[in-house]
Amino acid sequence: MTYFGKIFYGIKTLWTGMKVTGGYFFPNITRKKYVITRQYPDEPAVVFPRFKGEVVMWHNENNEHRCTGCQACEIACPNGSIEIIWKREVDPETGKKKKMLDQHIYHLSMCTMCSLCIQACPTNAIMWSTNFHNATYDRGLLTKVLNKPGSKLMAGVEE
């Protein structure tokens, strides 16, 4: 390339670059066309579906869950974020005493979102929620009971 060819080529490439950035700037000042900033507290936040916010237990409309109280998640948890309190009660159908879930306690403050409990669960009772509004002023509020009060095991899970 000749000396003057280089100069004109340089000017041309600079102008190409400026055209690109100008093409973003001028629509942005007039119509905010390309602005991708989401001003979160004023506008709703959009979280992608596989975001790991906290562990929740799924309940159907009759307040039934799928947790049998088998403690597989408690064993799988590497740092003891999950504690299962279970009870032995009479099953109304068979009339025999049986191990049942009393409280599924989940310490969100210790959870590292590693997903091992969810992989370990044989009945798919627990799952990830995308909720990230977890900040509190009291650490104790981060210890949650996942099964809702009065809930019971869904029929047909144990077969």
């Binding site: 100069i7 600079l14 950035t21 700037f25 905010k32 001003q39």
Partner: protein, 352 residues
């Protein structure tokens, strides 16, 4: 304090107390302008950068985020001014004062409108190009005084860049001086009464304008010529060791230097305070219209500099020197000769 007293007594005895008061008032106005313009330019830069990068920029503090930089300045005032243990205290502190004084001196000869100018003497343009290269001295001794290898490397690059690009900036200015025939700032503006110098001198004036913009960007150490700071290589370059207001002074001076380069460009090539085609000539409050037109032209140029900054990547030091010594300087030289020929033959465009 003694030396100030002697100076004050001398001023009062020779010129009278009112002269001293007026002088102090003008100084206060310029300092106020320095601070306000600096802060507003920082705000503008961040906002423009936001829109270039598909963001919004500061928009929370005050209406449209206008008070954001003032909040930042208050934060910087409240911060500790840290001086490194092994630093040369005197040079370390002298650094930012020299940078600011150089910027303020250059500001003094900028004509904002007819009669609105602190100093209007017959070598104004020469004065501005002399003073604007003093700023690099502040950068050099501040970096030397802070005893940091990154500071020193940054400052040496700054010196190198200044020495190189002063030349082509000088040739661009000479092209204008050839047309105007004077170094006086008001004289240069008055000579553009009918046609701006950008259009008066055909292609050579446009080439001179482009060279001026490139070397002006380099002299203010802005991207793509910000090897002086070079965050990824040198920490923060010459102001690595500065904190609080020391850092803020350097930062403000950088933005005021950008304003000065844009103001110089507007005065030399775009007709300073003159309205385009004289559209506001008959109206009252001519000084106000002058300031409005001047600031408008300055902001167009500042926007152009910001556009450069948010488009081009930083260049390497050898590319920097190649651009100056192999391209800008020879072109500037030939351009000046052509301009002199044109002025001699009187081939300039004079409308009206």
């Amino acid at each position: 304090m003694l030396s100030i007293n002697i100076f004050q007594t001398w001023l009062e005895q020779t010129h009278g107390i009112w002269y001293v008061l007026v002088l102090a008032g003008i100084a206060a106005i310029y300092l106020g302008f320095f601070a306000v313009a600096g802060l507003m330019l920082v705000y503008l830069e961040r906002r423009v950068a936001g829109y270039f990068q598909l963001r919004l920029g500061p928009n929370r503090v005050g209406p449209w985020g206008l008070l954001q930089t003032i909040a930042d300045a208050l934060k910087l005032v409240s911060k500790e001014i840290f001086v490194p243990k092994m630093a040369d205290k005197l040079l370390y502190k002298a650094g930012y004062y020299i940078v600011i004084i150089a910027a303020l001196l250059a500001l003094a000869v900028i004509p904002f409108a007819r009669q609105i100018q602190a100093l209007d003497f017959n070598v104004g343009l020469f004065f501005i190009s002399a003073v604007s290269s003093v700023g690099v001295l502040g950068i050099l001794i501040g970096a030397w005084g802070s005893r940091n290898k990154y500071s020193l490397i940054g400052a040496m690059r700054s010196g190198l860049q200044m020495i190189s690009y002063e030349l082509s900036a000088g040739f661009a200015i000479i092209a204008v001086v050839l047309m105007s025939g004077t170094l006086k700032m008001t004289g240069i503006v008055e000579a553009q009464k009918h046609t701006w110098f950008l259009f008066q001198g055909h292609l050579p004036a446009i080439i001179a304008f482009m060279i001026f913009l490139i070397s002006g960007t380099a002299e203010t150490n802005r991207v793509p010529f910000d090897l002086v700071e070079g965050e990824s290589e040198l920490g923060a370059g010459f102001h690595t060791e500065y904190s609080g207001m020391g850092f803020a002074f350097f930062f403000l001076a950088e933005f005021i230097n950008m304003f000065i380069i844009a103001a110089l460009g507007a005065t030399l090539f775009l007709g300073g305070w003159l309205a385009p085609f004289g559209i506001t000539d008959g109206l009252p409050a001519q000084w106000l219209w002058g300031i409005i037109w001047f600031l408008l032209k300055v902001f167009v140029l500042i926007f152009l500099l910001m556009w450069f900054r948010w488009t081009f990547p930083r260049i390497r030091i050898d590319q920097l020197l190649t651009l100056e010594w192999k391209y800008l300087l020879p072109i500037g030289l030939v351009n000046t000769v052509i301009m002199a020929w044109m002025v001699w033959k009187d081939w300039l465009i004079h409308l009206g």
